[in-house]
């Protein structure tokens, strides 16, 4: 075990010890029909990246080497952005178990499924990158590595942060943006394999986002003022320090860190292999921020406008 992983593990250990889990009476009956329905849908809409994507119909030779190279980078980056979902959703599941004790079974059952769904998305990205010429395991620029490596699992287990704040920032903001971008890529893709993957992934992501908004709708009205302030602060923090730093969008990263990914995304978008242009992504980010801001406002949570040199005021 490295020194870093030892310190991180001790951090989890310290966080876990601050909770007092009350396991009984252990209630299983549905408390929130929408969340239980999302769980039931997750069981019904299962798919397998190995067998439910028509890989045999994908012909890499139909694309020029430069296009394949670009697309394999794009799908590798998508894998880096998908991978954190394994850990952060597992941490959120544990958080619910530690915090809500005997209740909240709808959320727990839903979250028991989610890491496997993220793993399937990860495998799909990996398989497509492999067929395009090879998955890239390391970002070529340190800034990309930093931007895509966020400590969300620790955040989910932080007892000083209300779980509503975690769900709002990761589910309602980041997952919503991720879903909207995925749908944008799908809309602009022409390649059959890319479209199949994006459609299957988007189906799952839709549930993930619905879960976050439903859970927030159930819990936010009961949250005290300090908790609501923490929700607003955490969403703002993740927006400014993570999303606008290029967690999902290369063009939001510092200028010297964008290449070769930005050029790869442009070429992939041009050839319909599962990406969008910068202009299309900008529209998605702006629309998502407006959407999130409006929905949070219904609970009197204010998300102030942000400024970014590439995005402007949004």
């Amino acid at each position: 075990m490295s020194e870093t992983s030892d310190r991180l593990l001790r951090g989890y250990q310290a966080q876990e010890k601050r909770f007092l889990e009350r396991r009984f009476p252990l209630r299983f009956a549905p408390e929130n029909p929408t969340l239980r329905e999302l769980y039931n849908q997750a069981k019904g809409f299962r798919w397998n990246p190995e067998t439910d994507v028509a890989w045999s119909r994908f012909d890499p030779a139909a694309h020029a080497p430069a296009v394949r190279e670009a697309a394999r980078l794009v799908w590798s980056r998508r894998a880096w952005g998908t991978y954190p979902g394994l850990g952060e959703n597992t941490a959120l599941l544990i958080r619910f178990c530690l915090e809500s004790g005997a209740g909240g079974m709808d959320a727990k059952l839903f979250l028991s499924f989610r890491p496997a769904e993220e793993a399937k998305h990860l495998e799909a990205c990996f398989l497509f990158a492999t067929r395009l010429g090879g998955y890239e395991s390391t970002p070529s620029h340190a800034a990309v590595a930093r931007a895509s490596n966020q400590p969300f699992a620790q955040m989910a287990l932080d007892p000083d942060l209300p779980v509503e704040a975690v769900v709002a920032a990761l589910g309602c903001l980041d997952d919503q943006l991720d879903l909207n971008l995925c749908l944008c890529h799908l809309q602009h893709s022409r390649d059959e394999t890319a479209r199949q993957i994006l459609r299957l992934v988007a189906g799952d992501k839709q549930r993930h986002v619905l879960f976050a908004w439903t859970l927030l709708g159930q819990r936010l009205p009961r949250l005290a003022a300090a908790g609501r302030a923490a929700v607003a602060e955490t969403v703002r923090d993740v927006l400014e320090r993570v999303i606008l730093a290029g967690y999902r969008n290369t063009w939001l990263m510092p200028e010297d860190a964008r290449e070769p990914l930005l050029a790869a995304e442009a070429l992939t978008a041009e050839h319909g292999l599962g990406a969008s242009t910068v202009a299309q992504e900008k529209a998605v980010v702006r629309a998502t921020l407006a959407q999130v801001r409006e929905r949070l406002a219904t609970w009197d949570i204010t998300l102030a406008p942000v400024n970014h040199p590439e995005l402007g005021r949004a």
Partner: protein
């Protein structure tokens, strides 16, 4: 956000490196099932059983629900550890599916108790909560001083293995078609969970240090003495008996004899010693020496 530590994530390898574990991940994806849809619930017919048998079966399946819940609340912590320690991708992929499957087992066990007449959300007397509440795996997973090998050996090769041995030995006694199908489906998943543990430990065994071996010995011994012999799975085995009521202690036997799941004391007298002998022999090539265990009902095993 700024106060948290950052993982060393890259290079993020995703290609399979343990083919046998990768195969388990692939199989898990093709063998998914839904407790609502894949159990012949219309063949359960609780009205055909006397009240005492129904009560015993409700207690048995409620208790199973509490046990399965541990795999939602506790063992997923292992995935966080795999990620922190950059363990093989095969482990990370497979373990996501394991958590999903355990959630399904908990839901299925709850549904069975409910459809038999009603799920019990807690033991009849609170003191038994200690015995059935936790196997302590989350704490172990977050403890850097407890080796991953020790956790695998105790959770997978001990706690889950005995569960499966009991299922295998008694599934034929489940004459109720709905109960039998549920046991078969749980068994099918758990066989993969066990295979995962043994395959990992077999692969890592050549690099075990004397400290690792001691860690495994300690963890497995504790799991058997403090969890299994404390009645985590079967109250009849609880050394002290705890505060479980006679009804609870006898529930497994009565349910089993009715063909509604569970084991009899005679089954346990046979299954547990065989299980201990089996894992003792299985771990011996790694240099692991498991002690003899004293149990008031089983004797020296």
């Amino acid at each position: 956000m700024s106060t948290y530590l950052t993982e060393s994530r890259y290079p993020l390898e995703l290609a399979p490196t343990m083919p046998s574990v990768w195969e388990l991940w692939q199989r898990a994806k093709t063998l998914e099932w839904d407790p609502e849809m894949d159990i012949p619930w219309d063949e359960l017919h609780p009205e055909r059983y006397p009240d005492a048998q129904i009560m015993a079966a409700r207690l048995h399946w409620s208790r199973r629900t509490w046990g399965e819940y541990g795999a939602i609340s506790e063992s997923p912590a292992l995935l966080l550890r795999f990620c922190l320690e950059n363990r093989h991708p095969d482990l990370r992929f497979f373990f996501t599916m394991r958590t999903q499957e355990e959630g399904r087992h908990a839901e299925a066990s709850w549904l069975m108790a409910e459809r038999l007449g009603g799920y019990f959300p807690q033991p009849q007397n609170p003191p038994t909560v200690d015995a059935v509440g936790t196997h302590g795996v989350r704490r172990m997973a977050f403890d850097p001083d407890t080796s991953l090998e020790g956790i695998f050996a105790s959770l997978v090769c001990a706690a889950e293995e005995i569960l499966i041995d009991a299922f295998k030995a008694t599934v034929h006694k489940a004459t109720n078609p709905a109960v039998r199908r549920l046991m078969e489906l749980i068994l099918r998943d758990e066989v993969r969970h066990i295979a995962f543990g043994w395959q990992c430990l077999d692969a890592w065994a050549p690099s075990f240090t004397p400290e690792t071996v001691q860690n495994i010995e300690r963890a497995v011994t504790q799991m058997i003495q403090n969890v299994e012999f404390n009645g985590y799975r079967n109250l009849w085995l609880a050394v002290e008996g705890g505060s479980a009521t006679p009804l609870e202690i006898d529930a497994d036997r009565v349910a089993c004899e009715a063909g509604l799941g569970g084991t009899t004391p005679e089954d346990e007298m046979r299954i547990v010693p065989q299980f201990i002998q089996k894992i003792r022999a299985r771990m011996e090539p790694w240099g692991v020496r498991l002690p003899l265990f004293d149990h008031p009902k089983l004797g020296k095993v």
